[in-house]
Symmetry: C2
Amino acid sequence: MGRWEPGASSRLREAALALYLERGFEQTMVADIAERAGVTARTFFRHFADKREVFFDASAEVEEKSLAALEAAPATAPPLDAVAAALCAAAEVIGDNRDLARMRQTVIMANASLRERELIKLTSMSVAVADGLRRRGVDEAEAGLAAETGVAVFRVAFERWVNAAEDRALGDVIHETLAQLRTLTAAT
Amino acid sequence: MGRWEPGASSRLREAALALYLERGFEQTMVADIAERAGVTARTFFRHFADKREVFFDASAEVEEKSLAALEAAPATAPPLDAVAAALCAAAEVIGDNRDLARMRQTVIMANASLRERELIKLTSMSVAVADGLRRRGVDEAEAGLAAETGVAVFRVAFERWVNAAEDRALGDVIHETLAQLRTLTAAT
DNA sequence: AGAGTGATGTCATCAAGTGACATCACCGTA
DNA sequence: TACGGTGATGTCACTTGATGACATCACTCT
């Protein structure tokens, strides 16, 4: 199966992260990443759809685990609780190495097009979660709203967790943020 | 002030919308848009930062009106109600010609990079609203959550409004969606 | 009339991304 | 062992988005 040196896509991922950290996303050319990984620019585009995607292909795995957790949630759980379970599953994948997450976040926040790509990944997650909710029998209209709200909570929680002074579990921050949302919406 | 034919950016906007509708975003080249507008491709990039931005420069105005409404909301209003006021102000700008909104949405949904751009505009709105809330004295942590939640509500409401069979006011749909969110979060 | 100004055109160039085709290492099989 | 198939890679050519540098034109103000 492997020809040349195996593991080209891993090397490309590592090279990209290193170079994006060193000189920034825009200052890094695909040819540079490829060269550091020992391949050609053409090969880069065979592994990743574009220059941004090399940063985001873990998101598929995150989405899968979230959906699995959503399926696993008790059928009696209210929609937002099921969504919370899905988000916490995502948190387990992301949340164990905060330093890596912070490096990634630094690079992403420094560049608009990387932010755009991250947003569309979150939206993709939202769509998937909404579908999962509908499969659980949640009302069509409610599903979309619950999913979007959940992803909003996730986004806020992730930001708090990444920038926090203390070292907390991402799942805890998610639950705390959701509780705060419940307080917010209760206020009239 | 005007040389040649005045109103180049308006012509470019119209040309872009027409061509994106005709053949799609990717099949339309900047040179085509510029030609139809009677200018050069180089001039296109003097009016718009990139090929997508020609579709989104109304968003600055929407953001301004939203912020104004946020400032105008009674100081005693709870955060989410103030955000709702801001969203309804945005709705007034967008919500009066649903046909145009639907055409725009058709084009945007057909192309991933346009979706990305729309998402970052909504995020920009969220950040602005969060800042506005903080200026009103809302707690630092609450502000971000309320803004993100509000934008989530807006997104869901907009989608419902655009795809609805009947012709309803976007502001009404927003309030209805927010009420539904209150029900969702109340469930345990 | 002439200087100044701002929007535009022209030209050159870079970098992202893609299609077509050749090539090389490995694998199974006759 | 020799041979053909297969999949990942390299090479080359090309299109398109985007930008910098400089010239140009029309209009304004003095």
